[in-house]
Symmetry: C2
Subunit: 336 residues, 2 copies
């Protein structure tokens, strides 16, 4: 068996690889009964005294390094801050390991480091340790940044992606497909003709607004594989189904245009500044209001409701119903 | 300015790169007064309640992936466990982010994951979360593993690389140059003719033995740049000098042989299972005995003494004295 691009693109093929080769060969996968490796959540946790330390790690191989709306540095820090956030933990620190290709330009590195610093400053998350390696130029294309985030939450208050219950409302914090489509359009050379930008941004402010309102039962950020993947993961892990309404899922005009031109479903591509939040119905309107008051949450919507069935059902604009399946892989590789 | 191989090989060039481009552009570098980015220690720390969380991250680009004595999986977990250990913290968990080249063979990946598991099992350190990405085969040579370690120590008991005081004894836990020379010999094609193996191993048992005896003032594991780099870093950061005796520094016959054949100084190449420990002289013999009783510490030696001068002085076998300088870079690139 050989590794293919789709093994790293989210979706089912990646999950098979992880189960068959990685999980089946590792014996010690959790600490003190915290969230562990085989939970395949956005991160793991280590209960310690009255706290729970939340850890998440992500290798960033995005191509191109600079794109409309951001660069690899911004996505590396924001993406990891987001993985910590959706576990319900306040992100506090980042460890950053860079591997650079020989010949990489110092000016580009500086630009990337400044982007990392900007997200660090915006979120109050410190970059506390790092590592730098260099590979021969024929062995690595430009650079990889692996960021590991550390967050803290009061013991017992962690939010899992398996916590949805029938009756919960599903909140989506904004429009979908922006990141994946912006990258794809840029790669195909018509990025400059559109207004389309990646949505890469830290989601902590929105998450904090939701958590402090109350009633949050589950969260996930829809990155690789898009909302199609994230909604299905949430449903499967929680052992529930849900109905979501197409007309309530915001998709920008430009995203739709690129989507149609390339034949790529905007629900299946990565977002980098959005969260899907399951909320107790009693709190749903209040949580929605709180999110809408934040910097990135103005277009948040309640997009659906959890039920006790087994599928993610999409109610289309025309009133039809279809199963929204998890993609086999993100159709746009190397976007995060 | 363009990045060269030597910018990632330990030593002065790497320190310049880090200071000029990375440190000067990042504003938030520590949390709660813990050890932070600009301390350039083996890791960072986050004080939390009665504990201090220690974090260290390392990208592993080693070439070849499989070598006498280990493979990239073993070095990824052991190396990170070691960075946590030398901060005086008990390593408890690892986060692992893999980037694989398209076409990478599943059987090789499985072998590597099993090596990671073996070190995890030996040390009791759990692998609690991970990430998998795939890059096109012309963009990445085989694989990179970035491991981030999490350790815990009682608040105030962290060990720094800046803690040496005049009068302290310097303990080295075993022979030097094994890893770098084994890799170099193997690359040059005469690896199979020698008994030479990498020393890659977790050092926590030795560190724990030293800490529980008492009197430890500073620690560092001499990886990139070898003991020449590590001794100079310890001295510089502590604002002290030291005299070390060549005849007390164990170097294996095979290491010397390869060293002479290739013209590479064994003091300047990476070790992956050794520690340099500064100890209060009253405790030195007892710490030495404790280390010698551990699995990897049988050949530990007191190699020198700290003074209030400013250099690392090597007393040669012939009774001469010379300054042992930090190398500009590890002369054997991509070995860890």
């Amino acid at each position: 068996m050989k590794i293919g691009m789709s093994h790293g693109a989210g979706g089912e093929l990646m999950q098979d690889l992880i189960s068959d080769i990685i999980l089946s060969n590792i014996r010690n996968t959790r600490v003190n009964g915290g969230v562990g490796l085989e939970d395949l959540d956005d991160g793991a946790s280590i209960p310690l005294g009255e706290y729970e330390i939340v850890i998440s790690t992500d290798g960033h191989t995005i191509d191109p390094l600079f794109f409309p709306g951001g660069d690899i540095g911004k996505i590396a820090v924001a993406g990891t801050v987001n993985d910590i956030s959706v576990m319900g933990a306040r992100p506090i620190a980042i460890a950053s390991a860079m591997v650079l290709s020989e010949g990489f330009r110092g000016e580009e590195l500086e630009r990337i480091v400044r982007s990392m610093d900007a997200v660090s400053e915006e979120t109050g998350v410190s970059i506390i340790t790092g590592d730098t390696k260099v590979m021969e130029k024929d062995k690595l294309d430009r650079m990889i940044i692996t960021t590991t985030g550390i967050g803290v939450v009061k013991r017992g208050e962690i939010v899992r992606d398996s916590g949805l219950r029938p009756g919960d409302m599903i909140i989506l914090t904004g429009s979908v497909g922006d990141h994946g489509m912006a990258l794809m359009a840029f790669r195909e050379g018509f990025g400059y003709d559109t207004e389309l930008e990646s949505d890469v941004a830290p989601v902590w402010e929105m998450v904090e607004a939701a958590l402090s309102t109350g009633g949050v039962t589950a969260m996930k950020d829809p990155t690789r594989g898009g909302i199609a993947n994230a909604l299905n993961e949430l449903a499967e892990k929680s052992g529930v189904g849900m109905v979501v309404e197409e007309e309530r899922i915001p998709v920008k005009e430009e995203v739709l245009a690129v989507s149609e031109m390339l034949g790529i479903d905007p629900y299946e591509v990565a977002n980098e500044g959005k969260v899907i939040i399951g909320v107790d119905p009693e709190y749903a309107d209040e949580v929605l209001d709180a999110i809408r008051k934040t910097r990135y949450g103005g277009e948040a919507q309640i997009i659906g409701e959890v039920n006790s069935e087994r599928h993610v059902i999409l109610e289309t604009r025309l009133g039809g119903r279809r199963i929204l399946e998890a993609p086999v892989a993100d159709p746009v590789p190397r976007v995060c």
